[in-house]
């Protein structure tokens, strides 16, 4: 134990240097992650939004409808949890904890997870309650609101876990919630679409004055939304309300990932415990729950590349062939990968493969990001150069997509460069904003999607089912995932030529989860003293009622302060880009 603590605080890579073969990643997932993987259905029956009510939402009659007068008073239940801070942990803490799992600890962990989920859900429910009234009346928003309430109630009614059997019951509950949780994003997206114009007057007007004829100031990537258009419905501050929806969505999505992280990790650890896997020592296959301590950049990249290539060949090639009526096989653009040698300035070299970039991470996050970026690159390349005809040679007529991977002591970088014609200036300006893009029907296709995929395989299948239809959330979701452990995602474009996407992933595991804490102007803390942080992860004094926090700083030294996000537009400040 001491050795491990010493090991951790020395900031060395976390992988144990063993020679055991690691399970193929996909195999592991199929065996150990029992979350469901029902995919979206791309049939017309789901154009109608009255899908099956998730179990959780039907639990308590009194919260069936927020129209009920009982509802207002019922929210008092929330207070206890809303006032607690959410505790963001670092990757190292997750790993450390996972490696030291015993039956007792598992039971304690279950309680800790339960409370943490309740706290985070409570914060999000409070967010919903702060929305403008008529936005909350939107059927999609209301659906998600009820979903969250149902989840909250279901969790709250779970008894304290005291034995391993209790834990299993708890895990069953978690699985159901994870399932239902996949319904959230499509509905939120639709709700946002429909409400966007009410949320601050909309940005579709006045776009002509954008950055076109400016003064000496150039285009800043972290631009501020200065909108000079009429206020439509409320007298609220124009500028802040136009950002409110973006912040709301960001918080929702970040919190969603964090809750899935907690739940999936606990499920995986339970499974591992049941199977009596040894997380330490020679038997370790590298997985600590859903975290893989030996993520290899090359492997992740090649898997993503393979999926994207397959997707392009089946979907786009088919579409193009059909149009042209020829039998020539269309080859999608090549994805050229260059992995550069890991640069260590502290003299630590890997013994096995000095050129390989290995680090601890949650692979499904990175896979998702790479898949999205690569498929966007391929898609736009093919669309822009659609007049190219395939020939009988094996090489593709399309200009290649170039993927560069590099690393240093603290971070791993991925750069996806394409020649897909670039992004138009008015699109680029609103690339990261839900609200700005919603009025133009960007999220319209979420009507066809019921569940949001949670793994790369699900995502790939969904993409296949959707064909050429695009949901419009891939890029923003990727950015949220990248920022989750303190990384970033930036996109630069050269209009007329192509686009570059940059991903920075911290590799030391010392950054705490980015739960998107910002001061919501509308939240007025009631029984919280001024100066005391509401949604801060600085651990205040533990009250007696709270369960023991295994991630308490007295157990492990927190290496970095909690990652405060927000560069003013709801996204994190960049460490690799400068205007």
């Amino acid at each position: 134990m001491r050795l491990l603590l010493h090991h951790l605080t020395k900031r060395q890579p976390l992988h144990v240097q063993s020679t055991t073969t690691t399970l193929c990643h996909a195999q592991y997932r199929r065996r150990f992650l029992t979350t469901t993987s029902t995919l979206c259905q791309n049939t017309s029956t789901h154009k109608n939004n009255n899908t099956n009510e998730p179990r959780a939402a039907t639990l308590d009659h009194s919260i069936k409808s927020s129209h009920s007068p009982y509802h207002f008073y019922q929210t008092k239940i929330l207070e206890e949890y809303v006032q607690r801070p959410a505790n963001a942990s670092t990757l190292r803490q997750y790993i450390f904890y996972g490696r030291h799992m015993t039956s007792d600890r598992l039971v304690h962990a279950a309680n800790w997870v339960r409370n943490e989920l309740l706290t985070r859900l409570a914060h999000r429910i409070r967010d919903f309650q702060q929305l403008p009234f008529f936005v909350g009346m939107n059927p999609h928003i209301e659906f998600v609101y009820r979903l969250y309430w149902g989840a909250f109630e279901q969790l709250r009614k779970q008894p304290t876990v005291k034995t391993l059997d209790d834990n299993h019951a708890f895990c069953q509950c978690l699985k159901e919630l994870l399932d239902d949780g996949q319904l959230v994003v499509p509905r939120l997206a639709l709700g946002v679409s429909e409400c966007a114009q009410h949320f601050g007057g909309g940005n579709s007007h006045g776009n002509g004055n954008g950055n076109g004829h400016g003064n000496g100031n150039g285009n800043s990537h972290h631009h501020h939304h200065h909108h000079h258009h009429q206020q439509h419905h409320h007298g609220g501050n124009e500028e802040s309300s136009s950002q409110d929806l973006d912040r709301f969505m960001n918080r929702m999505l970040r919190s969603r990932i964090s809750r899935r992280m907690l739940a999936e990790q606990h499920l995986a650890l339970t499974e591992a415990h049941d199977q009596d896997w040894d997380m330490m020592g020679e038997g370790e296959n590298g997985y600590v729950g859903i975290i893989f301590v030996r993520c290899s950049a090359s492997e992740l990249v090649s898997q993503a590349t393979r999926l994207v290539r397959h997707h392009a060949e089946t979907i786009y090639a088919k579409a193009l062939e059909g149009e042209e009526g020829t039998k020539t096989k269309i080859r999608p653009p090549a994805i050229q990968v260059q992995v550069h040698q890991d640069v260590h300035t502290q003299g630590l070299q890997q013994k096995e493969k000095p050129d390989e970039i290995v680090f601890a991470y949650v692979p499904e996050h990175l896979e998702y990001i790479l898949f999205e970026l690569l498929s966007n690159a391929v898609r736009f390349t093919m669309e822009t150069h659609s007049n190219k005809k395939g020939d009988s040679s094996s090489s593709s007529p399309y200009p290649p997509v170039k993927l560069t991977v590099s690393a240093n002591d603290t971070d791993v970088y991925f750069r996806v460069s394409d020649q897909g014609g670039g992004i138009a200036p008015d699109v680029y300006k609103h690339l990261w904003s839900y609200q700005a893009r919603a009025p133009t029907g960007q999220f319209h296709h979420f009507h066809q999607v019921q569940k949001m995929p949670s793994s790369i395989n699900e995502r790939a299948s969904q993409a296949e089912n959707l064909g050429q239809v695009h949901l419009g959330m891939g890029l923003t979701m990727s950015r949220i995932l990248a920022e989750y452990w303190g990384g970033e995602l930036q996109v630069m474009t050269m209009q007329g030529y192509g686009t570059d996407a940059y991903v920075r992933i911290p590799r030391l595991g010392t950054k705490a989860e980015n739960l998107g804490f910002e001061d919501h102007p509308a939240i007025t803390p009631t029984s919280v003293q001024p100066g005391q942080q509401r949604e801060g992860a600085n651990h205040g004094n533990n009250t007696q009622d709270q369960p023991v926090n295994w991630y308490h700083p007295s157990v492990i030294q927190r290496n970095t302060p909690i990652h405060k996000s927000d560069a003013g537009d709801g996204w994190s400040k960049s460490c690799m880009m400068l205007d």
Partner: protein, 424 residues
């Protein structure tokens, strides 16, 4: 205007050293020796008692006048072919009334600096320079006669020359005054100064160029309207700058990385070559130097050096130029400093030497701009480049993959007749 001329007006000292490698078609009156002589004489003009300024209300009068903003399209219109004496007279008239106002404002800006800072010899030198420039141009804003225009233009040329090294001198002065002024205030002052200077030089150089064009009846470069090139090919300019920088690099390091230029290499657009040239040279200097130093640091001496890739894109609204290198990138901590007016590369040794001497000046310039200097990006090359880039609504973004390399994105708006609102 060829490369040599434009280059000379921006870096006279570099030019004198590297005259052999650039083609020169200067008119005979502007020989190197004349230039040299003018430079040394300039700093020995008679000292005007400083108290004189206090009772001189001309400065204040002019400084309080509003700047008549000029649009670039108007500048173009002055020189629109066919170039007539009328349009030239309009241009001159505009310059005569506008320049004293802008110069006076600069003088005022100096006068509002803290007293101790104002007494620093370098800062005082530049202050006096602006003051004298104002005084020499001010009479022309009153009446006029037909021969005045030519005389005025010659005066402008002289002034453009003498003001060539303002920024390094100022930077040096401020370095010495570090403890008397906040760095934010210094940065704000320099920002204003540089921004105004760009405007002043634009007006002046446009007039000079138009006069010369009209004099020589130059119809060869019919793509040029004064200092504006309506058919500027960025790829060609990149090649020129890159070759020049490669020579400097070879001189300093014995090697230079290859440069690959791709994308829309045939694209042309309307722009001011001097500006683009400056920016490109700065960026390429950084890229090449970083590439070599990084390779050497890693002990990777085996050729070839990783190439520098420059991509040009012609878009709807702008021209994009991306410079991609494998020079190791910029560390996160340094990233915030990259655009600072940092003076740390000026060595202690050169402080005692006579600043007006050409040769020490050249070495200083090289140091300040980074070649031979300690770290990438610290100097004033980048902040200046960014200012130029942004001047007509463009942008400048640097993305660093630390441990690998940097991508710099330069976006320049198309300047054409339709951009009527773009004011200087």
């Amino acid at each position: 205007m060829n490369f040599a001329f434009t280059f000379r007006s921006v870096w006279p000292r570099y030019y004198i050293h590297h005259a052999s490698i650039t083609t020169s078609t200067l008119s005979p009156t502007r020989s190197k020796t004349t230039l040299f002589a003018k430079r040394t004489i300039a700093t020995k003009t008679h000292e005007k008692p400083a108290a004189h300024a206090f009772y001189d209300d001309k400065i204040v009068t002019y400084a309080n006048r509003p700047i008549r903003p000029v649009t670039l399209s108007q500048l173009v219109r002055f020189g629109q072919p066919p170039l007539t004496k009328e349009s030239l007279r309009d241009c001159a008239q505009y310059a005569r009334t506008e320049l004293p106002v802008r110069l006076a404002r600069r003088v005022r800006a100096f006068q509002t600096l803290p007293f101790i800072v104002g007494t620093n010899p370098y800062i005082k030198e530049i202050y006096k320079l602006y003051y004298e420039s104002f005084e020499s141009l001010e009479p022309y804003s009153h009446g006029r006669s037909p021969n005045d225009d030519l005389e005025y233009s010659e005066k402008l040329e002289d002034l453009v020359d003498r003001h060539a090294d303002n920024i390094p001198t100022l930077a040096r002065g401020f370095l010495e005054c570090k403890q008397y002024m906040h760095s934010q205030d210094v940065a704000a002052f320099l920002d204003d100064m540089i921004h105004a200077r760009i405007g002043i030089r634009l007006i002046a150089e446009q007039m000079i160029a138009l006069v010369r064009q009209e004099q020589t009846g130059d119809t060869n470069n019919n793509s040029y309207i004064g200092i504006i090139d309506t058919q500027l090919n960025p790829a060609k300019l990149v090649k020129q700058c890159s070759d020049f920088v490669a020579e400097l690099c070879e001189f300093n390091y014995g090697a230079s990385p290859e440069t690959i230029i791709d994308g829309h290499t045939d694209a042309t657009f309307t722009y001011i070559p001097v500006h683009l040239e400056y920016i490109l040279t700065e960026l390429l200097k950084n890229a090449q130097r970083a590439t070599i130093e990084f390779a050497r640091k890693r002990g990777d001496d085996s050729p070839p050096l990783p190439p520098i890739q420059i991509t040009i894109s012609h878009g709807q609204e702008d021209i994009s130029i991306r410079i991609r290198d494998q020079g190791g990138g910029v560390a996160e901590d340094d990233l915030n400093q990259v655009f600072e007016y940092s003076y740390t590369t000026v060595s202690k040794a050169s402080e005692d030497e006579d600043p007006s001497s050409i040769f020490t000046g050249m070495a200083e310039m090289a140091m300040q701009s980074g070649i031979g200097g300690p770290l990438a990006g610290l100097g004033f090359g980048l902040p200046l480049a960014r200012m130029y880039a942004r001047y007509f609504g463009g942008s400048f973004t640097l993305v660093s993959m630390n441990g690998y390399g940097c991508d710099v994105f330069l976006k320049l708006k198309h300047i054409d007749q339709s951009m009527a609102e773009l004011e200087i």
